[in-house]
Amino acid sequence: MTVLSTPSGTGPQAARARVEQALRGGKVDVWGRAFHLVVLAALLLAVLALVVLLVDMLTTGAPVLTGRLGGFLDGALRSQPGASGIRQGLVGTFWIGVFVVLLSFPLGIAAAIHLEEYAARTRLTRFIDVNIRNLAGVPSVVYGILGFTIFTKALRDVTGSPGSNGRTIVSAGLTLAILVLPIVIITASEALRAVPSGLREAGFGVGATRSEVVRHHVLPYAAPGIFTGTVLALARALGEAAPLILVGATSGYLTGADRFLELGALRERFTAMPTVITTWAGRPGREWEEVTAAAIVILLAVVLLANTTAIVLRNRFEKKRG
């Protein structure tokens, strides 16, 4: 049955293999082994795609990454690939991340607390639940339309300075915060659901109110799970490009968009890493390919670092609690 047969050793594995062998009458289960190999191959192919992608980006981007990394990270967008940098993209992506952390995280976790801890099983609750699931599946480009209509048109005086037409970091940050909100709610709900109800009952038993139980017992216990979900959502927001196109991220003629902590620039025209990559990917020639791949490596470094941290943390906590 198992392909990975252990050499005639001892222990339960070997004993099991011997029993299986005897039951089969010494014959080899060809079909079973083939099936095992096919499903393993499927998984390995998927992982191979990931490896090929990473290696391809690294090798293509290598000349830029090794040759002029400092200037690349710190430089502005130019029309010449050899002189172009991604500083403005990094600033935009940084601020989008800030918006997501400040808006989606508290709002999403609060909504999850409502659904898991407070809500009675009413029609409204069910409707909210189904609604959130659907929102998580709405294509990102549709959220772009929402951002375009609401933030860059209806609220343009709030989200942008007079010359920017509302096509600003504020608009983009709000749009992406809304985009990942359902993801935060769903993952936080799952984390809260995994908290043993005995913990809550113990809290109620000594006379704590529900908000006290949530704050002092449920949230600390669910914190690692919630953290994992929020980091995954953040990574998703940082890599999202389609809504930015609709909200009007540009890739040229930017002023003041290259300083990380200048609040005034938030209401000016902007760009972000995914937008920079999209624009550069459309330009022909090996040189543009190289800078695009280099920009991708930087974006992947940020996004995958966040993802990996989140996944490792979750696995560690899952193991601890059995």
């Binding site: 049955m1 990975l4 289960d29 079909w31 079973g32 099936f35 095992h36 499903v39 393993l40 191959a41 499927a42 998984l43 998927a46 992982v47 795609a49 090929v52 992608l53 391809d56 980006m57 293509t60 709002l107 999403g108 609060a110 607390i113 409502h114 801890e117 407070y118 909210i128 609604n131 659907n134 929102l135 599946g137 709405v138 480009v141 549709v142 772009g144 339309i145 929402l146 375009f148 037409n165 909100l181 006379g207 109110t209 529900r210 998703r236 490009a241 389609a242 196109i245 609709l246 540009t250 995914p274 999209t278 990917a281 459309g282 695009t292 974006l299 992947l300 995958l304 990996t308 996944i311």
Partner: protein, 310 residues
């Protein structure tokens, strides 16, 4: 806590006022947060509906069935972009369903613990790759190294490469949802099958997969929904940014609903054009919203069915 006679009063049981009020405030705040999600749905529909309706009520029916999708010239051939989306989705599913399902079967039924601990995170990391990255990968690697190698005469920008890129994006989705479904099949079913003398592979194919079939179907539907909604891969790798002629050739350039929206908005300061160009963007958005909504509701129903059974 007690009255003059020494017995308990109702007041004594009601708890500290300040703490009760704090609980009430929390209750209202989290309720408001949850209701925000309804507000978001309302805003999405609101932002789509107005201009979409303008398009539907003013467009000439003849321009909806022409030779191609050229919104800036007043040609809104819906079938071009719908068929484009279907082609990309079909290619994506041809890649993602076997690989995703195979990966799920291996992870759920075969993988030794140590192997699972390494490979499962790898698949999850694949899920975190931004779609712009896969778009660039599809254009610069999949198209020349895979598609053009196996299909003579495929152009640099083609729907097949975009479809494969979207497929890679949806593999982790299918793998995760399918694996969940198979792991929730109770072990007693596997043991019963083994006790009847079935080999492991037979148990998997005849017992575990049929028992988990609702979840598997749900994973396929979610993947289709995701593939139809995927924008950047197609936008970067399938070409045809200005518009596209009607085509069923996956080895040539083409346009999908999502990419049609993105390319109308990209590169211009204002989404503008002749006549109803601007409105067509919202109409396509509405179409996309409805299609994915139906698929998501359907998938949700299938997932619920698995949960109810086990």
């Amino acid at each position: 806590m007690t009255d003059a006679t020494g017995s308990l009063t109702i007041d004594a049981l009601s708890g500290d006022r300040r703490r009760m009020r704090a609980d009430m405030v929390t209750r209202l705040l989290v309720l408001a947060a949850a209701v925000t999600s309804i507000l978001i749905s309302a805003l999405i529909i609101f932002s789509l509906a107005g201009e979409a309706w303008t398009f539907v009520s003013q467009v000439e029916v003849a321009s909806l069935w022409t030779d191609g999708w050229f919104p800036r010239r007043g040609l809104y051939d819906i079938k071009t972009i719908v068929v484009g989306s279907l082609l990309v989705t079909a290619v994506a599913m041809l890649l993602a369903v076997p690989l995703g399902l195979g990966a799920a079967v291996y992870l759920s039924e075969y993988a030794p613990r140590q192997v699972r601990k390494v490979l499962k995170p790898a698949v999850e990391i694949l899920a975190g790759i931004p779609s712009v990255v896969l778009g660039f990968f599809a254009l610069t690697f999949i198209s020349p190294e895979v598609v053009q190698r196996f299909a003579e005469g495929a152009t640099q920008f083609n729907l097949a490469a975009a479809g494969l890129g979207v497929g890679i994006l949806t593999i982790p989705l299918i793998a995760a949802v399918s694996e969940d479904a198979m792991r929730s099949v109770p072990n007693s079913l596997r043991e019963a099958s083994a006790a009847m003398g079935a080999r492991k592979a037979v148990t998997v194919v005849r017992v575990v997969i049929p028992a988990a079939v609702s979840g598997l179907v749900a994973s396929f539907i979610v993947a289709v929904s995701r593939a139809i909604g995927e924008t950047m891969v197609v936008f970067i790798a399938a070409g045809a940014t200005g518009g596209a002629l009607f085509t069923t050739d996956v080895f040539g350039p083409g346009q999908t609903m999502t990419a049609a929206m993105a390319s109308q908005a990209a590169g211009t300061d204002q989404v503008r054009g002749a006549g109803l160009t601007f409105q067509s963007l919202f109409f396509v958005g509405m179409l996309l919203f409805i299609v994915t909504l139906v698929l998501n509701l359907l998938a949700d129903r299938f997932v619920r069915r698995v949960r109810q059974r086990y």
